[in-house]
């Protein structure tokens, strides 16, 4: 297992290097610089700003300087927010985004797995069609539509829940978590239904039933383990996606998270912030993919055997 993990981590290094290099040169070649403004900026001001951020150096030199700083864990100062470093901005808002992602994942897994299992128990009946149709709507409905809808119903009309903020008013985390988690819940529902349907026809399930085990024990103890394999494989990339894709939800609900920086940085040509968030999300995606592989290997004895090796 250790060999498997270290192998995967080593593979990540060239991937990250390519991401960093491509992003760096792409953003520097995009038209419009970080200091272009509506009002003409005097030449000496541009000169001072360029010197402050080393933009007066050739791009390759900036790239090497950036790599050097990065090796020391320094993402550099933000161009848009002069008094803040990218490290401070990323790590200062990461907690909020991670918390939002976690709650959304909780919503997605609980609703998704329940709906998927319920549907798989009686395939091609109303018990299957209803949750799966809802799931299809969930997949199709973008968060920028679902969020405002939930706000209108539960926040404005019924006045049950706060419509914005994060940790200010009790309950203000519920609507964002549901909005962000909904489409993932829908995916998970379809995945767990498919997984369960496949497993339920396996010999070992028939054996369990033949032993006279009650149905709920058969499902929970035997079927779920195999049936949820596709879901587990999905969880890693999904969580990384939740973190990186929280921009819309953070904007709708006025949440001080990382996702907002990610998109704004590109519009503002905040070079260091674009680099910082891209690298951060790349690392997140790589790590969560690895985590989900480890989890899948741990749950599935067949995979464990394949990746096996002496050390596990």
């Amino acid at each position: 297992m250790l060999k498997f993990i270290s192998g995967r981590l080593l593979q990540a290094i060239p991937v990250l290097f390519i991401v960093i290099t491509a992003t760096f040169f792409l953003i520097h070649s995009a038209p419009g610089g970080p200091f272009s403004a509506d009002r003409a900026v005097p030449a000496q001001v541009i000169k001072a700003l360029n010197a402050r951020y080393h933009l007066d150096q050739p791009v390759w030199q900036q790239y090497l300087t950036y790599l050097g700083d990065l090796a020391q864990g320094d993402f550099g100062p933000s161009f848009k927010f002069p008094g803040r470093s990218v490290n401070e901005m990323i790590f200062g808002s990461l907690g909020t985004t991670a918390e939002l992602g976690l709650y959304a994942m909780l919503v997605a897994v609980i609703i998704g797995v329940l709906a998927g299992v319920v549907a798989a128990l009686k395939p091609n009946t109303a018990q299957d069609y209803v949750p799966m149709s809802v799931a299809m709507v969930g997949i199709c409905m973008p968060s920028f539509l679902l969020g405002p809808l939930l706000v209108l119903v539960f926040g404005i009309y019924l006045e049950w829940l706060p419509i914005s903020g994060w940790g200010d008013i009790p309950g203000d985390k519920i609507l964002p978590a549901i909005t962000l988690g909904a489409s993932y819940a829908a995916y998970i529902a379809r995945l767990s239904r498919g997984g369960m349907l496949e497993v339920m026809t396996q010999d070992y399930i028939r054996t369990a039933r033949a032993k006279g085990l009650p149905e709920h024990i058969v499902i929970i103890k035997h079927a779920l383990r195999g049936g949820l394999m596709p879901v587990i494989a999905f969880l890693g990339p999904a969580f990384a996606g939740l973190l990186a894709g929280s921009f819309v939800v953070e904007t709708i609900f006025q949440i001080p998270g990382l996702g907002r920086f990610y998109v704004q940085a590109a519009f503002n040509r905040d070079y260091t912030m674009i680099m910082g968030t891209t690298i951060f999300f790349s690392v997140t995606i790589i790590l969560f993919n690895l985590l989900s592989d480890i989890l899948a290997t741990w749950i599935n004895p067949k995979l464990r055997h394949q990746s096996g090796g002496a050390e596990s």
């Binding site: 610089g33 003409a40 001072a48 002069p82 909780l106 006045e159 203000d172």
Partner: protein, 548 residues
């Protein structure tokens, strides 16, 4: 697994239960505690008055720092602030400010003339990169110091006469100089605090963080949570603290105008930065007392690239300008009370309303186009309108595209670009016709006219007119009376609206949603906020949300 699922469900249930019955709204709590909840559009870049450039930063800084002179919140006439009085020499070049002895920094330090001289020197340091350094340029040698040509600040026209007396010498008489002093780029900063956290010319130190910030305004910085809220509280050291009735203001970075409107409806905000276009009619119909629309010192216009062959012909430019039905545009497309514009300077800019020979006359426009060699639009090159990506700009461009097709039978393409790309295209002359706007830095026609000087950084049209330059650079500054000065501006503006390197389209309005409990909020054409006069008076009527 069963146990884990039950556990998860229980957690979710608990989460939901704790949520319901969320209690008091921000507005009702704020009214009780004297806290104003303010929609402020964006996370402030910084709170250093010599570094920032945006309106959200301006709003917060107006609460935290005060300059020598303030303005009447309605008329915008200069009124005493840190300076309790001032005198102007007969030739209009030397201003002597008497600083009030009760002026204090928020940490209790006395505020002196030396503070201003030091702060202004800092604001002009080339390495600081202050984008508003040009606000100081009327002062003798300020430009030379800001561009690094002059190293010795004692040669700049700023002189400390005594701890409470500051003398400022201008190159030319500048009637709007007092107006500039209320711009944040001319505000004082606390020397000891800045030096504690870095060099004066450093723009990225920690002096503006809560706990470090020292200001001299009616409020002081209490808390600054990134992307969440900036909280300010009443400053007991402020010289006019008895006038300040609010205990604090919470500024929220409400980037999304739709979210902001929903927050207002749910009573989480007293005031919004903007109003979504589609909601204007709803509020005007159902809650007219909550929507505030006022004239704004800004003009929406199109720039011509006069370096291009067909657009270098003034007859073509006139034909295009004369075939836009501005009245229809503001009434049917924009719908927020904007005014059709036929001049670049908005009407009643401190008593100046320019007249214009420009009018809506499609028949005359067709004749002009025919004279230019494009009868019935035949042979007219396909021309492109460039705009930065935004729904409203698209709507305006589509409407104008249709008007030109209908009236002149010419084909126009519309093309949008991301903001920074658009800026790059415009400043490098890589456009044919581009959308633009200009918001006055101060209330004076000069703010709208000096940008069209030959080779000016904001001109970008390639247009040049020597008479125009002479009027703006020589005649207006040396005018003895306001009447003479405005006459020079009118003459210059007539040249501009006759040659039309730009097409004025409409004059902006400011739009806000304001809770009825907010009092003392005056409107002015700069949409500048003077928080010290504001207060909250809870209304008796119960909450009633608008149901769209």
């Amino acid at each position: 697994m069963m146990f884990k699922t039950q556990h998860g469900l229980l957690c979710l249930l608990l989460l939901i239960l704790t949520a319901c019955g969320s209690g008091e709204s921000n507005v009702s709590k704020g009214n009780r505690e004297g806290i104003l909840h303010w929609g402020n559009a964006a996370e402030p870049q910084e709170l250093d008055p010599h570094v920032v450039t945006g309106v959200p930063e301006h709003n917060i800084i107006m609460a935290l720092i005060e300059g020598l002179v303030s303005k009447n919140p309605t008329t915008l006439e200069p009124i005493p602030a840190v300076a309790e009085s001032w005198s102007v020499s007969e030739d209009g070049r030397v201003y002597t400010f008497n600083i009030r002895s009760t002026a204090r920094w928020s940490n209790g330090d006395p505020l002196t003339a030396e503070d201003f001289a030091w702060s202004w020197r800092r604001a002009l340091l080339p390495e600081l990169g202050n984008q508003y350094a040009y606000m100081y340029y009327p002062i003798v040698n300020a430009e030379a110091f800001a561009t690094g040509e002059l190293q010795d600040f004692s040669q700049v026209g700023v002189k400390v006469i005594s701890p409470l007396s500051l003398q400022v010498t201008l190159t030319h008489p500048t009637p709007f100089f007092l107006q500039l002093l209320d711009h944040y780029s001319m505000f004082p900063v606390h020397r000891a605090t800045i030096e504690k956290f870095g060099q004066p010319g450093e723009a990225n130190t920690l002096w503006t963080r809560a706990g470090n910030f020292v200001g001299n305004g009616p409020f002081m910085l209490e808390q600054w949570d990134l992307n969440k809220v900036v909280k300010v509280k009443k400053n007991p050291q402020y010289w006019d603290a008895s006038t300040v009735r609010l205990n604090g203001i919470y500024f929220y970075p409400t980037e999304n105008v739709t979210t902001e409107e929903r927050m207002f409806r749910a009573e989480q905000l007293h005031y919004t930065y903007d109003v979504p276009i589609e909601k204007i009619a709803v509020y005007q119909r159902e809650k007219p007392q909550q929507i505030k629309i006022s004239p704004y010192l800004g003009t929406y216009f199109y720039r011509f690239n006069t370096r291009l062959k067909h657009l270098s012909d003034v007859r073509v430019r006139k034909a295009l300008a004369m075939s836009i039905d501005r009245k229809s545009l503001v009434e049917n497309v924009l719908k927020a009370g904007q005014l059709p514009a036929y001049t670049i300077t908005p009407p009643n800019t401190l008593g100046y309303t320019a007249s214009s020979q420009l009018r809506y006359d499609p028949a005359a426009a067709r004749t002009l186009l025919a004279e230019a060699g494009y009868k019935d639009g035949e042979g007219f090159p396909v021309t492109e309108i460039l705009y930065n990506t935004h729904e409203q700009h698209r709507k305006v461009a589509v409407a104008i595209q249709q008007m030109w097709k209908k009236e002149l039978n010419i084909n126009v393409r519309i093309h949008n670009q991301d903001w920074k790309v658009y800026l790059d295209s415009e400043s490098s002359g890589n456009f044919q016709i581009s959308r633009a706007s200009w918001i006055g830095d101060y209330v004076d026609p000069n703010s709208f006219l000096d940008m069209w000087l030959t080779g000016g950084g904001n001109n970008r049209t390639g247009w040049s007119n020597k008479t125009f330059d002479y009027l703006i650079q020589n005649v207006a500054p040396s005018a003895k009376t306001k009447k003479q000065r405005y006459a020079a501006f009118q003459e210059a503006e007539s040249i501009l609206t006759d040659e039309l390197p730009i097409i004025p389209i409409y004059t902006y309005v400011s739009k806000h949603l304001v809770h009825p409990s907010v009092k003392g909020l005056s409107s002015n054409i700069l949409d500048t906020l003077y928080f010290k006069y504001m207060y909250l008076e809870p209304e008796s009527e119960p909450r009633s949300a608008i149901k769209p």
